[in-house]
Amino acid sequence: MNAVHTAVNPCSSSAFDVERIRADFPILQLTINGKPLVYLDNAASSQMPQPVIDRLVRYQASEHANINRAVYTLSEIATTEYEAARRKLQCFINAPEEREVIFTSGTTDAINLVMHGYGRKFIKVGDEIILTTLEHHSNIVPWQMLAEETGAKIRVVPINDAGELLIDEYENLFNEHTKLVGVMHVSNALGTINPVKQMIAFAHSHGVPVLVDGAQAVPHLQVDVQDLDCDFYAFSGHKLCGPTGIGVLYGKAALLEKMQPFKGGGDMILSVTFEKTTYNTIPHKFEAGTPPIAAAIGLGAAVDYLLAIGMDAIAAHELDLLNYATEQMAGMSGVRIIGTAKNKASVISFTVDGVHPHDVGTLLNQDGVALRTGHHCAQPVMQRFKVPATSRASFAFYNTLAEVDALIAGIRSVQKVFA
């Protein structure tokens, strides 16, 4: 296996030094059950490099105060750094304006913001919302809640056996009642990269806005919201080497301004009397209360870190990992890869014949290999493939081909136990 590993390893060049990158991640130096940690659950949450940890510490140690309120130095520093983080995120996704970047607690919060702010105001009885079979529960459940409340209907785009959306079927779902499309950019369960740009153009030709769940896309792809022309784009910080509890909703200013606030409280107002409250301008209208200041600044540092490596270099290395792992697994008898889209991010869902995914996960953990087992908050996808659950390896730019080898060896040892 080592010979193969050396032969296909294109990453030993100075352009992408994975060992130097790994040295930035303290957690990757851990051993689990006496074995080096092989962390392959990056689609659930990625790990944090030292520069981001340092930035969080520096903020708490020397910059922290509440923002947007006081006139003293610390508060001004905290406000400046928080808003600087917003600009970093704006550049990261190429949003036209800073005020179109709203800090949320994560993707789920961002989608709920759109549901409450846009959906509850503009979607009525008889209206239709188009979602896809691939969606994460976080882009299904809020819309079901809205449908229940308003009497709107949910239409679902089916997928083929490879886990790709059926675009003809998608286009056929449009009618005069269609009011919103919600689609994930990259599938968390299967890795499929959806043709969102094409889907958005089609929706716009019917005057329908599109919400893109980008949680799994931003860690792997260069995302340009102007090029996509999406109306909303949601993602999380903790899948992007940043802290938990922070995420972003990008929205076109014209839409955000028409929307009603999601949460009421401090900071989201211009003036309050018991007779009438005037809401603040965007983005502040949607950032009620004290935001996760440290987490936002940490996410800004994470974006700096990723951009210093380069999203293209990250994507190229992850594609090498995906191709190598796919090739290895495809050659194993008794192992079935679920999700074989032509266009995939570095996620492999698989099943091992005769072995439940939770048994796979427990036994791989014994070898230090951390991967996700279960339905991945995407039960409709599991139902489509008629499996209760899968095991899922998801690779980040700090993973190595040797770690893929460890995964493969681990699966073989699972097969031996259950032979």
Binding site: G34, H356, H358, L363, H375, Q379, M382, P388, V417, F418
Partner: protein, 170 residues
């Protein structure tokens, strides 16, 4: 350090591969379905009393090896027991898998002690106890139960009581 592989020992793998009392019963006095929503696993347990004792019991469902072996060994251990003795075993099994049973003191655990190691795997405890949870529900004429109904499994009696489901054929 816990050796998780030790959990996957011969007896558990054997019951996973060749589960005992697998299937349904033509006639059952008690029946329940148990779900583990965390992984989507589910098993059904059906049993019949002959006077004071459980004279037949069967299970079936989709589950991991830990759950299936636990269910299989449960049916073997329970068959022929009175309800009171079965309830004691349920309590002891739950206590053992949550690390609260002293295996040195007198108990009825017997061969089920192979599941003692599961207490080191908090995410897998629910797999092992799902069949026992379901058996308890069946005793109490609760048609459907879940490992999430009571995360601490301290009092598994707080279920809505509904009439037993009519027995469906396999």
């Amino acid at each position: 350090m816990a050796n998780y592989k030790a959990l996957y020992q011969e007896v558990i793998l054997d019951h996973n591969k060749k589960p005992r009392n697998y299937g349904t019963l033509a006639h059952s006095s008690h029946h329940a379905v148990g779900h583990n929503p965390l992984c989507g696993d589910h098993i059904s347990v059906a049993l019949n009393f002959d006077r004071e004792c459980i004279d037949c019991i069967a299970f079936q469902g989709e589950s991991c090896a830990i759950c299936k072996a636990s269910a299989s060994m449960m049916t073997v251990a329970i068959k022929g027991k009175s309800r009171a003795d079965a309830e004691i075993l349920i309590k002891e099994f739950l206590a053992m898998t949550t690390g609260k049973l002293d295996l040195e003191s007198p108990n009825c655990i017997g061969r089920l002690a192979v599941f003692a190691g599961v207490c080191d795997l908090p995410t897998r405890v629910k797999c092992a106890i799902l069949p026992w949870h379901t058996l308890h529900a069946a005793f109490n004429s609760v048609a459907s139960t879940s490992t999430e109904a009571d995360p601490m499994h301290t009092s598994i009696d707080r279920q809505r009581v509904v009439p037993p489901l009519p027995q469906s054929n396999p």
